[in-house]
């Protein structure tokens, strides 16, 4: 076969590319073990002199990692749970229920994907600040901090995903109507049909959607940075680590930053490697990333 005539060239290219991809991660791990006098000094050395765990201890101590972890976990869980729930509910309605305005609603969902996130950045923040009856606000949303001082602020703008609704709908369309109808004839209401039949049948797509959402939520930086600026108690892992990086003396803090980064990327990398098939299918389905 013609296009297999030069596999060595292909191998060379692909392996070189893979090395370029992996080396930064390796450098991150190596630097996390380097002592204060080793990092950033000339000439550059890839391997640390000794595998010293002191940077990890410093990261846990200086970064208050347990709190950062907790905030990241809570925000990510809120977002993922809410996206799965709302997507499968709305997806089911759009795929399998007949009601006036369905096409309009579906087109609305699709059109929301047209608006880039940065457009909503400022108004989202102000809406959370002026959320009525929260954080000391009155009914008109004045006088207090609104929702910005609570951990839900991290999750609020991401609770519903148009893409999630779209994805679940496309998947649910292929569920045979006969199955649903049989359940209805047996006296099951729509909620039971959704929970007992549709959700189990769409488990693969929900797993994929959950993974995509989880990874995005875990890695989110800009919004979390803003919310943590208003209330440092809800700081997430990426924000906390970047904050440490901003200290004056980079040569001393860089190894600690790297240690924090290793600890914060480990969970997500493990999850990805375990479930990569589902994740990769999701990206192929969406291509959105």
């Amino acid at each position: 076969m013609n296009r297999r005539r030069f596999p060595w060239l292909s191998y060379l290219l692909v392996v070189t590319g893979a090395v370029l991809t992996v080396v930064p991660f390796a450098d991150m791990v190596m630097t996390s073990f380097k002592g204060p006098a080793e990092a950033g000094t000339l000439p550059y050395r890839f391997l640390p002199r000794a595998f010293d765990l002191s940077n990890y201890r410093a990261a846990v101590h200086q970064l208050d990692l347990p709190v950062l972890f907790r905030n990241s976990v809570v925000a990510t869980a809120l977002i993922t749970g809410s996206v799965l729930l709302t997507s499968s509910l709305a997806g089911y309605a759009l795929a399998k229920l007949r009601f006036p305005g369905r096409d309009l609603v579906f087109r609305l969902v699709l059109s929301t994907m047209m608006f880039p996130p940065f457009l909503f950045f400022i108004p989202h923040f102000l809406i959370l600040v002026h959320w009525p009856l929260a954080g000391g606000n009155d009914l008109l949303g004045r006088g207090g901090a609104g929702l910005t001082v609570s951990i839900v602020a991290l999750a609020m703008p991401f609770l519903v995903s148009s893409f999630g609704i779209f994805l679940t709908r496309q998947f649910m369309i292929s569920i045979p109507d006969e199955v649903l109808e049989a359940a209805r004839i047996d006296g099951a209401g729509e909620f039971t049909v959704w929970w007992r039949i549709v959700v189990p049948q769409t488990r693969p797509v929900l797993l994929t959607l959950g993974l995509l959402t989880f990874v995005d939520a875990w890695n989110e930086y800009i919004w979390a940075l803003l919310v943590s600026t208003a209330d440092p108690d809800v700081m997430t892992l990426p924000v906390g680590i970047q904050l440490l990086q901003d200290y004056v003396d980079p040569t001393r803090t860089m190894p600690i930053v790297m240690a924090g980064l290793v600890l914060s990327t480990l969970p997500i990398l493990t999850l990805f490697l375990l479930l990569q098939k589902h994740y990769i299918r999701g990206v192929m389905l969406s291509g959105l990333k």
Binding site: V14, L85, T86, L97, F99, V105, I122, L126
Partner: protein, 319 residues
């Protein structure tokens, strides 16, 4: 972008309602189903009302107002002043900010596209495709804070990249400190981080090209270059368009990597529109200008996307 490629079956296949159980029964069930459907949709619709429609209106209001940002009663309408200020003489918004934004997006797309086409076509010939794809995918699931800091550190005088340069006998380069190299250096990182998903999309595209085309080409004695140009590339076009459009979109609006790596510096060598918007609002309290900048960037994003779709569609008719 999604509409363009992923909606082959959106509203065509109508979901059948209940089978006939008598006229009255169907009516009642239909109404009940409508109520149930809107209940199911309620959380999403409520969310869109509060976090999409309301913010859009608010953004429009802010972009035509002057406001210190602390008391809703103090919003003063100023018409299009904020937009005028963005393009006034001496304003840095058009150059270098918008030009940087476009260069950043263009550079990222070019690099990521070239890299992903190369790697995707090569992977297609190899064994262990899953392993390669997984490796190339690692940057995608990594937070931008990790990507940015690792590369920032590698670019430093005592970092890996300069270490390799010095070992090969080249002089050091102040990648992020020199304004001539800062933007390209950040572009490389953004492309590095996004090439994995492009490879995935292209791999899917390659898999859908029927083997018979290649067999026919082999019978005609076509060389690998000809096969690539005459068969692979044209048939890969939908995937290429998709990668191109989405990467361009991401490139135009992303600034997290830039905040992490350079904060827009040195000078304004890596200042981009979304970062400028962020700073105007949250550091300088100039919400009006920030909102106006957001709309200008939105207009640019729309124009660029539509232009690409138009261009590719026209080209498509020629082929």
């Amino acid at each position: 972008m999604v509409n363009a490629t992923l909606t082959p079956e959106t509203t065509r296949r109508a979901a059948p309602g209940a089978p006939a159980t008598g006229i009255h029964g169907r009516d009642r069930r239909g109404r009940r189903q409508a109520v149930v459907a809107y209940l199911f949709l309620a959380p999403a619709l409520l969310f869109f009302a509060v976090f999409l429609v309301l913010p859009l209106g608010f953004a429009v209001l802010l972009s035509t107002s002057r406001w210190a940002g602390f008391d809703l009663g103090d919003i003063q309408p100023v018409g299009l002043d904020n937009f005028a200020a963005l393009f006034a003489d001496g304003s840095t918004f058009l150059t270098p900010v918008l030009t940087n934004t476009l260069l950043f997006a263009l550079g990222t797309v070019a690099l990521a596209l070239a890299g992903s086409v190369l790697v995707a076509t090569c992977i297609d010939n190899l064994r262990f495709q899953g392993l390669w794809r997984t490796l190339y995918f690692l940057p995608i699931v990594t937070t931008v804070v990790a990507v940015g800091n690792v590369w920032k550190y590698m670019y430093e005088p005592g970092g890996l990249v300069n270490g390799v340069l010095n070992a090969l006998g080249f002089g050091s380069v102040a990648f992020l400190q020199d304004p001539d190299t800062a933007l390209p250096s950040v572009v490389v990182v953004q492309a590095w981080a996004s090439v994995g998903s492009a490879i995935l999309v292209l791999t899917a595209g390659l898999k859908s090209i029927p083997e018979t085309y290649y067999e026919a080409a082999a019978l005609d004695g076509a060389g690998p270059g000809t096969v690539f140009l005459r068969i692979t590339l044209p048939l890969l076009r939908p995937s290429l368009v998709f990668v191109c459009v989405t990467q361009f979109l991401t490139g135009l609006q992303s600034f997290a990597l830039i905040i992490v790596m350079t904060k827009g510096g040195p000078g304004d060598a890596t200042e981009v529109a979304a970062l400028e918007m962020y700073r105007q609002a949250f550091s300088y309290g100039d919400w009006g200008t920030a909102s106006a900048a957001a709309f200008v960037l939105f207009a640019v994003v729309l124009t660029v996307t539509l232009a690409q779709l138009w261009f590719f569609r026209r080209r498509g008719e020629d082929v």
